[in-house]
Structures are given as structure tokens and as C-alpha cells.
């Protein structure tokens, strides 16, 4: 639950993790777990959020080399949750429909990172421009009070 009654939104509580090495992938998912815990997530929700972050952060390393993951508590009316933004200025994704397909990979992966992150979270949005970069925004809400 929220510590000392502070509102879950606000710049101060957002956490930014620069992604440039595979150790940063681990840092990003630990940061995500910590923020999600502070919002009130428990058990398998925490694992699902960390797993999604792991996939998105690894994509940055693999395909864009560097970027960042921003985790913030969010609220909307009476519900609270967590938002993860994974962004980079890498090569971008030419065909998003294809990239979102289970099993599609241009590398040596399982092709499950993007579609899996969508299933693990409640909301998923992706924007990408070839030569400009990629931004993925995912959200998950706690299951009420």
C-alpha cells in the first residue's frame, strides 16, 4: 500500500534506469518490482511485471544497444498501478504487426518478448519509427482494494 499517504502519481516517485548492459536488465526488473511493491502489488503480479520489464529491457540491449526504462506509480480515479516506459533511439521496427506476432524474431530469440509483455500486463502500446527509435508503454493495475 502507499507509504505515508502520498499520492501515487508525481515526478518524484518515478524511477529511471539507463539500459546499456545486461546487468542493467537485472537492475531494471528489480526497480520495477520495488516500485510495484510500493504501489501494493503482490505475488505473481510482481513476477509478471518484472518479467515484462526484463523482455523490454533486453530488446533495448539487443536491438538498440542503449536506452532507458522508466517505472512510475500511476493512479486513475480510485485505482492504482504501475507504468513502465521502455524507450530507445535505435533502428526502430519496420513492421509492428509482424513484430507483435508470437515467434517472430529477427534475431535468435524466441520471438515472445513483445507479445509476451502484452499478455503479462493490462495495457500495452508501442510506437516505432525506422531510424528514430522505439517506445513501449505498458501498465498494470492492482486488483482493487
Amino acid at each position: 500500500m502507499l507509504v505515508d499517504g502520498s499520492p501515487p502519481s508525481g515526478e518524484s516517485s518515478e524511477e529511471i534506469v539507463g539500459i546499456a548492459s545486461d546487468a542493467d536488465v537485472v537492475t531494471a526488473r528489480h526497480t520495477g518490482r520495488r516500485v510495484a511493491e510500493s504501489v501494493g502489488f503482490t505475488g505473481s503480479d510482481l513476477t509478471m511485471i518484472s518479467t515484462a520489464i526484463s523482455e523490454l529491457a533486453r530488446n533495448i540491449i539487443r536491438y538498440a544497444v542503449t536506452g532507458e526504462v522508466v517505472v512510475s506509480p500511476i493512479s486513475e480515479g480510485s485505482r492504482v498501478g504501475v507504468m513502465v516506459v521502455a524507450r530507445d533511439n535505435g533502428p526502430g521496427i519496420p513492421d509492428l504487426d509482424l513484430a507483435m506476432r508470437d515467434g517472430f524474431t529477427t534475431g535468435t530469440g524466441m520471438g515472445l518478448g513483445l507479445p509476451g509483455a502484452r499478455r503479462l500486463m493490462d495495457e500495452f502500446a508501442i510506437a516505432s519509427q525506422v531510424g528514430e527509435g522505439t517506445t513501449v508503454v505498458v501498465k498494470k493495475w492492482t486488483r482493487g482494494l
Binding site: S44, S50, T51, E55, D102, G113, R119, L120
Partner: protein, 116 residues
Amino acid sequence: MAVPILKQGKYLIASIQSALTDSDMVSLREDLMEQVGRYRSRGIIIDVTALDVMDSFASRSLRNIAYMTKLRGAETVLVGIQAEVAYAMVQLGTNLEEVNTALDLEEGLAFLDQLT
């Protein structure tokens, strides 16, 4: 952080102690392949109890380890997948069906004893 590998008779036991980076996972594969050859091990137990997350890279790596070491004559059992981790793996869609699993170390050893 490197994963300690313990030789116990004809088995190797690798106990993952903390969250692993991708390069730790690659080292684990190399170490197990080397030790299977050196000790002529017949079975491998990989204890993943301490893993916070089993993402697609970890799943693929563990599947590859199981297959590569099998080609060298050793059977691998994955033990200690936590309930929350199993739940997230299903949502993610990773498939570890062809990898042997057991609830914990004791069950894993019993499984290998039956096989080898």
C-alpha cells in the same frame, strides 16, 4: 555472479543463487558442458529456486543447456520453479515442456536415480 556447480557422485548440481545476467547464463552453459565432459556426469540438477524471473532468454538458455548436455550423455532436471514464476512463464508463452522438472532438489535427485 557465477553459479556454483557441485559435483555429487555421477551428478552435477548447479544452484542459482541470485538473479542472473545473460552473460552469467552463458557461463553456466559453458561450465556445465565442460564439467559433464570432465566428470562423465550422467545427470544435472539446476536449482532455480532463487530466480526472480524466468524470461524468454533464461527459458531458452535452460532448454539449450538441457539439450546440449543430453547430447553429451547427461540428463538435466530443473528444480525449484516458484509458483509465481510458473504463472508468468505461461503468460509469456515460453515452452519448457521437453525439459525435465521436479519440485525441489530431493525430488530431482530421486528422478535422476530412477533414470540413470
